[in-house]
């Protein structure tokens, strides 16, 4: 069954069409890659999916639920979580609080008990803290819980973004260049991690990535975007051979070589 269906999705900014007529479907439990040259519109697709932008046209469906034009927090509440290309952590909060903040939709107490610290405040906070610590352990950040997020190393910050996204209890996880700026060893660790969390959390994932070794290794299917259009889709092996893809990445002449 399709968990995510995108039909004829378009977005233009003034005269520039960033995304045009994109069709894309994710099956439950799939790990799909979204690749393309710089400026192809990959992040714009993510921003449309998560409600940061409102589409100019087209449909986004999560199961039977229409998501286009909805607010980001609503979409997150329905189970779509994301990470950001240019890391957007709450830098002056502790690592633990970054994760706990992402759990707030599931915190079972209101403003009044938060003021008085009565009612279900204590049990819920205890519960959140335990779950957050577990998540951090799984992502290898267990001993960093009390550090400020801004003081983490680059790779750790990327991991924390994933932990924070997982804390919202998503069914669909969108990862925007999780391996950007990582060295090969870190990328390898990330590859294993993505593989693990996908199974542990029973997730469907859509992954934007420039690191081809990562994409070809773990993605079951790949969509290729160029100038806002899907120019190819298929298995990693198909994509590797596709002449349009080679053209998009290497230019016209190289296609003939």
């Amino acid at each position: 069954m399709s968990i995510l269906t995108i039909q004829n999705l378009s977005k233009s900014f003034g005269g520039i069409t960033a995304v045009s007529d994109v069709n894309l479907a994710l099956e439950c439990g799939e790990l799909v890659g979204l690749i393309g040259p710089n400026g192809a519109g990959k992040t714009t697709v993510f921003n449309l999916l998560t409600g940061v932008y409102t589409p100019t046209g087209g449909e986004i469906r999560l199961g039977d639920l229409a998501l286009q034009g909805k607010k980001p927090h609503y979409i997150c509440g329905k189970g779509v979580a994301r990470t950001f290309q240019n890391i957007r952590l709450f830098k002056n909060m502790t690592v633990l609080n970054n994760v706990r903040t992402a759990m707030h939709q599931h915190a079972g107490y209101g403003t009044l008990s938060s003021l008085l610290h009565l009612g279900r405040y204590h049990s819920e906070e205890q519960d959140m803290e335990t779950r957050a610590a577990e998540l951090l352990d799984r992502l290898g950040l267990g001993d960093k819980a009390d550090e400020l997020a801004g003081n983490l190393s680059y790779g750790e910050q990327r991991h924390l973004e994933i932990a924070r996204a997982l804390a919202t209890e998503p069914v669909l996880l969108l990862l925007d260049e999780p391996a950007a700026g990582m060295n090969p060893a870190e990328t390898l660790r990330l590859t294993r991690l993505l593989h693990d969390i996908r199974q542990q959390f029973n997730l469907t994932m859509l992954l934007i990535e420039h690191d081809m070794s990562l994409v070809m290794n773990i993605c079951e299917r790949i969509y290729v975007l160029d100038y806002g259009c899907v120019i190819a889709s298929g298995s990693p092996a198909d994509i590797r051979r596709d002449s349009r893809v080679i053209k998009a990445y290497l230019g016209e002449e190289a296609g003939h070589v």
């Binding site: 940061v52 927090h73 997150c76 952590l89 709450f90 003021l115 008085l116 405040y121 996204a165």
Partner: protein, 320 residues
């Protein structure tokens, strides 16, 4: 473990302050004049810590805090002019605070969609509207204001209101909705992306801030005999903001420290009326030059004490 220790330390500090001032009042060391200074300090603590919650922690720049204060002051004054009893005062204070919160809610819904300077100007306009309303209403006696308000505030009331405000704000900030508000200040896009309904939490924190500003206004009216619309103008909003900035945006104890410090300085300078405002302003300039993040930055006093503790413990362990 650390959490409980911190709590105990805070409560001990509150209790010690209460008992010390109560003892000094009984002994006669604190006379009417110094008590008036203490009242002003406490009101400033309430106003600045609530504005800090809105501006420092949640990042919503507001220049209208005095407007909410005036709502609390007028509602409380009108109530205790009719019922000059402790119960009347309690009802007037809560009623004023609730009305301020309600106005905060109504004003917040449209204006909190704005950001930064736009929000500041919108809140400034709102406070002016409130002032003009009080200026023109018959029941508030216009520009002449309300006088002969019964003086019902004593140290017990003052302490309960101030400590209560600080505890409730600290509780709020250390909770799920509070963290959501801090997340908005840190990165609004990321906050939305992890499911924080930013408009809802901005409105919540704004109207909560208005509630406490209303409490501060009620104390003002019930101590200083006399209120008029001009007391709650733009310059008071700025005064409160100055305390927040000097203490440190995002530090509750900073607001407390700055409320005390600025009042003490200002009182000490009363001996030199000609130079008073110049020296006071120079002090503010100096603080901004040498400590632009405010006296406390975004740290709390308790944090500082405990990092010392922890560091000492660590070195001890390493040494042993």
């Amino acid at each position: 473990m650390g959490k409980h220790k911190k709590r105990i330390l805070q409560l001990a500090f509150f209790a010690a302050t209460y008992l010390a001032v109560a003892a000094l009042i009984r002994a006669g060391t604190i006379n009417d004049f110094s008590f008036a200074v203490i009242v002003t300090i406490c009101i400033n603590i309430i106003l600045s810590s609530s504005l800090n919650m809105v501006t420092g922690f949640a990042g919503q720049f507001s220049l209208g805090h005095a407007g909410f204060m005036s709502i609390g002051a007028y509602v409380c004054a009108l109530t205790i002019l009719r019922r000059p009893t402790p119960l009347g005062f309690l009802l007037g204070m809560l009623g004023g605070a609730l009305l301020a919160a309600l106005v905060g809610l109504l004003v917040g819904l449209p204006t909190l969609r704005l950001r930064g300077d736009y929000l500041a100007i919108a809140t400034l306009g709102m406070a002016e509207i409130i002032r003009v309303v009080f200026l023109n209403l018959e029941i508030t006696n216009g520009a002449a204001g309300l006088s002969f308000i019964p003086q019902l505030v004593d140290w017990n009331w003052l302490f309960a209101a101030t400590a209560g405000t600080l505890l409730l704000i600290a509780n709020f900030l250390n909770s799920s909705p509070g963290r959501a508000c801090i997340a908005i200040q840190e990165d609004e896009v990321a906050a939305e992306a992890v499911g924080v309904n930013t408009l809802r939490y901005k409105v919540t924190v704004f109207s909560l801030g208005a509630f406490f500003a209303g409490i501060g206004g009620a104390l003002y009216a019930a101590y200083f005999y006399f209120i008029k619309p001009d007391l709650f103008g733009f310059s008071r909003s700025v005064d409160i903001l100055v305390i927040v900035v000097v203490g440190g945006m995002g530090s509750l104890s900073g607001s407390v420290v700055a409320s005390v410090l600025l009042m003490v300085v200002s009182t000490a300078l009363q001996a030199y009326p000609a130079l008073r405002m110049i020296l006071y302003s120079l002090l503010l300039v100096a603080v901004m030059l040498f400590r632009p993040q405010g006296l406390m930055g975004s740290k709390e006093v308790a944090d500082l004490v405990f990092t010392r503790f922890r560091r000492a413990e660590k070195t001890e362990k390493q040494g042993g």
